[in-house]
Subunit: 159 residues, 2 copies
């Protein structure tokens, strides 16, 4: 049982943006790509989806990049996982169109796994993006404007 890589990377992008939210220069796809070793093209699609979901605002051109649309403390982790994780079909019978299970009509497994999934999401609903990122002291190197490249050396300061 695992979340998709799509959701994993989406959470990392948002956490990165939350970490640098106070920085003057917006976060760029290139710096997240370099920092996490993820391909730019893959990240671009994830950022587009996060923008479409109203979680990121993006600006083009020189000095452009992305920022959280709302403060990190107002972005629910559960809400992010719900919109990015498209598949919560815990077992085959969750998908009625492709279901071949012949126990379906008198089986309570689907309901049981659905309840377990709700318990999983309820834990995440109780947290915001602000709970996932380190609290940065004012004037921290982490808040300094990035030079355009990956701020890996800055991240290492808090490791």
């Amino acid at each position: 049982m695992r979340l998709t890589q799509w959701t994993d990377y989406a959470l990392r992008v948002l956490m990165y943006c939350a970490t640098y939210q106070e920085r003057e220069q917006p976060v760029t796809i290139s710096e997240v790509a370099q920092s996490h070793g993820i391909s730019r093209s893959h990240l671009t699609k994830i950022v587009q989806e996060l923008a479409a979901q109203g979680l990121l605002e993006t600006t083009r051109g020189r000095g452009g990049g992305m920022r959280l649309m709302r403060p990190a403390r107002e972005i629910s982790v559960g809400a992010v996982v719900r919109v990015m994780e498209s598949d919560f079909e815990m077992v085959e019978c969750f998908n009625l169109e492709n279901n071949t299970c012949r126990l379906s009509s008198h089986c309570v497994l689907k309901g049981v796994l659905g309840s377990a999934t709700q318990a999983y999401l309820a834990v995440l609903d109780g947290l915001t993006l602000a709970d996932l990122v380190p609290q940065l002291p004012e004037g921290s190197a982490l808040l300094a404007p990035a030079s355009g490249a990956a701020p890996v050396h800055m991240l290492r300061l808090v490791q």
Copy 2:
């Protein structure tokens, strides 16, 4: 987010065995395979694993088959999912050997997703296999000895 097909099918095998636990003739792989439209070879591997985990006892030869090792009400659904679902690495950083995430050391995402997974399993820990199968009235057609082939027509009686 979904369970593996391996765990899905393992639950179906156990539920099938629980349904027919009182039948004189043990459940055969062939009848489960035919009833669910799953390949015999795939089911054989699953049954071997369930036997290795002490959940099924199997007997060879004519009149052989499989039975639950313990009554269905004593088999925890959570325990089954824990032993059959080998991968609870919700995101990449759960696997320390292959982790490339550079936020790891100061990130609480792993702990948060771990807590959510525990909440998921806690729901399943509260249920037994007996909770997943229909209560059969004594003398039901579902309890009649199968003729060796798939009892699909019997299952249809309760659909």
